[in-house]
């Protein structure tokens, strides 16, 4: 469960990214974050995986008070949160297999377990035959699948996805969405920032709209609500 209480975030340059955001996201929810560029969606997500700390307010993820977390503890909280980006962020010199296995090596899992689980998620994301390819040899959609595989390999309770389909064509995007829905179906909370009207309006989920650093709309089965 994720809970934000009256969160304010002001960056060093004086930008007010968030102004008093309070929201509660329960286990196993699927949430779209929508809103214009620069509205505060990315900051919202960065606060959840503790890349940023709030200027004011409290944020808790799975019972951890994220804002007060000791730097030493950050890695352990992040292991329970899978993060997916628009630009995939794979390690360029590692193969597909190594990229995914890396997230498990970090938690010091035994090699045997790593191998079994990595092959499992590779199959789940549909890249079973590509395990020894390098990221640059893959298409954008395939790279995003690797990133998703890496995000879910440790069975996190939350997945944070910042415009995961932003660089992909519509058909590939739908493939990624089906995958995310499947992962959500298996019990993982998903928070996804997106500008994709078609996806939001077709695959109907909870929609949280952020404008100017505040939540302007929060609907259980919402719509995109912006003209592109």
């Amino acid at each position: 469960m994720i809970e934000l209480q009256d969160i304010w975030k002001t960056y060093a340059d004086g930008t007010h990214a968030l102004r008093g955001v309070s929201v509660r996201i329960d286990r196993n929810e699927f949430v779209y974050l929508v809103g214009p560029s620069g509205a505060g969606k990315s900051t919202f997500m960065k606060l959840i995986y503790r890349e940023e700390i709030p200027t004011k307010g409290q944020i808790s993820v799975n019972g951890f008070n994220i804002g007060k977390l000791k730097p030493r503890k950050i890695p352990y909280v992040r292991r329970n949160i899978g993060v997916i980006f628009q630009d995939y962020r794979l390690l360029p010199k590692l193969t597909v297999y190594e990229n995914i296995a890396f997230a498990m090596e970090v938690i010091e899992a035994p090699r045997r377990v790593i191998k079994k689980r990595t092959m499992e998620v590779l199959e789940l994301v549909g890249l079973k035959g590509r395990h020894s390819s390098l990221p640059q040899q893959l298409s954008g959609g395939e790279q995003q699948r690797v990133a998703i595989a890496r995000a879910i390999v440790n069975n996190p309770s939350v997945i944070v996805a910042d415009e995961p389909t932003g660089n992909l064509d519509p058909e590939t995007s739908w493939g990624i969405m089906n995958l995310l829905e499947e992962i959500n179906f298996r019990g993982t909370t998903i928070i996804m920032a997106t500008h994709n009207k078609e996806i939001v309006n077709t695959l109907r989920k909870r929609v949280i709209a952020i404008e100017n650093g505040t939540i302007v709309r929060d609907e259980v089965r919402g719509e995109y609500g912006y003209e592109i």
Binding site: V106, E108, R111
Partner: protein
């Protein structure tokens, strides 16, 4: 840390060396070049030092005695002077030997001048040749010998000579040469450290993103640091091994080639065995340390995310 994790870090460190081929090449090259220059100067400094020692060890004190000093007195003096802590060796040079040595050193030209002198009319006095442990303390030792001569009522010592003035300036020059060598080597050492750690830093800046991703999937700082640490040590170690091999092979060739010519000038180079030990230990130690230092220091900068 689990043992399997340590193995993983070792494996990863070695893999990184291979994966970052060009960066590794750049780091290793910069290590080889800087350490080679450092090593060459070190060898030069060692030889200059050695030469200075050789020259200095040739200074000695001549103690001249009264013409008619008897054997008992000579023995007594030999013992007293030999007991001075600074004195390493004392040798009695009889007037006959003195004459012989003089003849030899003057060669053919002197033969005429010295003609007619023999055992009966030898004009030279008996003398001692005194050597000291530390050439720089020669003046002090000479003073002590003079004092011995003065305290003896028969005053058997006529003069004590060690090249006063000349010896002092020789020492001054030799000390300056040594210090200059030391400053150059130290300066090169520091330069090498910065050059190498800068190259390693550049290779890690290129991997800033990589470190960011590692942090994102929940890697602890130590987990990220270890492979870099091992990679740095490997690069430093490999670079310095190559440098040591180059230096020693080059030096042994130099010793071989120059042996005859320098031998004629009475100069002896430091042997490969003596030089090799110092140079290897220093270069290997320094190279490995710099490798580790450079990589750990640079990683630390990007761990604060």
């Amino acid at each position: 840390m689990k043992f399997s994790t340590l193995v993983r870090h070792l494996r990863e460190g070695v893999k990184n060396v291979v994966r970052n081929g060009w960066m590794t090449f750049a780091s290793v090259s910069s290590i080889i070049i800087s350490l080679f220059i450092l090593g060459a100067f070190l060898l030069l400094a060692m030889n200059v030092n050695n030469l200075a020692d050789q020259i200095e060890s040739q200074v000695q004190i001549r103690v001249y005695l009264q013409l008619n000093t008897d054997d008992a007195k000579i023995n007594e003096l030999k013992n007293t002077i030999g007991n001075i802590p600074e004195v390493s060796k004392i040798e009695f040079v009889s007037k006959e030997k003195g004459l012989e040595a003089l003849r030899e050193s003057m060669g053919a030209d002197g033969a005429e001048l010295l003609e007619g002198y023999d055992q009966t009319n030898n004009p030279l006095p008996d003398s001692f040749t005194v050597e000291v442990f530390e050439p720089q303390k020669i003046a002090y030792a000479a003073k002590q010998i003079e004092a011995i001569g003065k305290t003896d009522e028969s005053s058997p010592i006529t003069s004590v000579k060690y090249g006063k003035g000349t010896v002092e300036s020789l020492f001054k020059i030799m000390n300056a040469v040594r210090n200059i060598g030391l400053v150059i080597v130290a300066g090169l050492g520091v330069t090498a450290m910065f050059l190498i750690s800068n190259t390693i830093k550049t290779t890690i800046v290129a991997r800033r993103r990589e470190i960011g991703i590692m942090k994102l999937v929940g890697a602890t700082n130590n987990f990220i640091r270890w492979p870099f640490f091992i990679e740095g040590a490997l690069i430093g170690c490999f670079g310095s091994v190559v440098t040591v091999v180059l230096l020693l092979v080059g030096y042994s060739r130099l010793v071989e080639v120059s042996q005859v010519e320098l031998g004629l000038m009475m100069i002896k180079l430091v042997t490969l065995k003596d030089a090799g030990y110092t140079v290897s230990v220093l270069i290997l130690g320094l190279g490995t340390l710099i490798g580790i230092w450079g990589s750990t220091l640079s990683v630390r900068k990007y761990l604060k995310v």
